[in-house]
Structure formats: C-alpha cells, structure tokens
Symmetry: C2
Subunit: 116 residues, 2 copies
Amino acid sequence: MAAVARAATTSDAFNAIAEPQRRDILALLRAGERPVTDLAQELGMSQPRASKHLRVLREVGLVRVRGAGKQRLYGLDARGLRPIHEWVGGFERFWNESFDRLDTYVRDLKQTRQEE
Amino acid sequence: MAAVARAATTSDAFNAIAEPQRRDILALLRAGERPVTDLAQELGMSQPRASKHLRVLREVGLVRVRGAGKQRLYGLDARGLRPIHEWVGGFERFWNESFDRLDTYVRDLKQTRQEE
DNA sequence: TTGACGTATTCCGTTATGGGAATACGATGG
DNA sequence: CCATCGTATTCCCATAACGGAATACGTCAA
C-alpha cells in the first residue's frame, strides 16, 4: 500500500456507464423492470456476468432491485445520470462552435505533422 | 492471450471522461488552448501525469494539439462529447418521471430488506 | 553545437476490472 | 424438510490502467 496506483474506481456513475454492456443494460431497463436472466439472455451474456454488472449499477445507484418472489426485478433509477448530462451539457456550445477553431488546427497540422 | 479479461479500454470518450482528472482538464480547456505545464500546475498534478491524460484525450479525439514553438498547445474538441450527451439524454424523461416508480420500490424495500 | 526549457515516454509497481467456471444462497413449491 | 429455480458470489486469470520517478525528445537560443 505504498504506491497509489489507480485513483478512482467503478464507484460513480461516470465509470458505471463507461462499460458498454452496462449501458446496454440501462437502455433495456427503460422498458421496465426485468430479472437478471432476462437481461443476460437478451444481451447475450452469461447470468453471472449480468449480475456483476448489475451490482456495479446498483452500487452507483443507477439501478434498484426489488424482490418479487423467487425473482429479483431490476429497475432503472436514472437520477444518477442527470449530473452527467449536465456536465457534458456544459460543453454544448463547443461542439457546435469549435469548427472555426478547428480549421486553425487543421491548417496547422499540415506543418506540425501530427504524431501517430 | 487466453482469457479476454477486460473488454473495452480507455479508447472511447465514455472511458475518457470517466476519469475525474481528465474531466477537469477538459473543463479547463473550455477557456482556451493551454500548454501541458499550465494545466498540470493548475490542477495540482505532475507534468507527466497531465501528459498521459492528455494523450488519452487526444487518442479519443477530445483534444487537439498544436505545436507552438517550443510549446505544444492543447485545445478542446468537444465534438466527441455529443454522442455521450445524446445517449444520456435518452434517459431524461426517466430521471423526472421515475419517482412514481421509485415510490413503489421504496415501499417494497421496507419488507425486502435491501442488502448492503 | 550545446544548453535549456517544455513536454512525451518508458519502466516499474499496485490495483482493480472484466470474464469464466464453479459454487453458494435464498425463496418457493411439494 | 427437500428439490429446484433464479440469482449472487467466490476464485482465479489476464490485462489494463494510474501513479511516480527517471529519462528521452524536440525545439529554440546563443
């Protein structure tokens, strides 16, 4: 426990949605609650895997579980996505406006020789 | 090269912005182009570290570099954030609407005993 | 050329993540 | 109580990812 290594982890919404499969799960859940098996099958992944992803999603609060008899129904709790939407939204004017500036870059690149 | 292990990597915008420090960098760049040293200092991180983060951001296309004499100026290219904004936006109605549904959950939790 | 400055990269160590397989749990129906 | 279904967890592996420190590069000035 000397070096710090990886700083953050899969403990916030940003990280949670960085995983494609988790995004898929969230997307599916918009249609309504679903048991793990359902999701796993629909997404073509093993049940354990789906469970793991759901765990992460649950820990960050993007998903809720509800026991329904023998099953456990997972449901979406999108509130955690709002901060993300807002953060990204803070760049909205840039992805429209930035073209002028980009032209400058592009022009420059021809002599700067972009590495890689 | 048997087990696949981690599927995706830090090769897309979603992953890029999963890192708090990279988000900070992007935020700073909204003010305009900046050399690495500047960013590093302002964010209280070492120069190598800043360079590494900028590399990731560059590889996903969220940032552009431009050689300016002895320096290299980094600039924002927010276009890559748009898809993210849209994806997350797809959940907008849920973080407002979902309260009704949440009530159901909450009511249920009292008997289901949410683990952890 | 040499030196200096600004910046990128490499090497190393640590951590954590995603996946697979097997297994442990929990609840329900007999 | 037992078998079973649905689901979560554990164990293990391979890999990638951050961080730090040292170092290699590239460019410009003298």
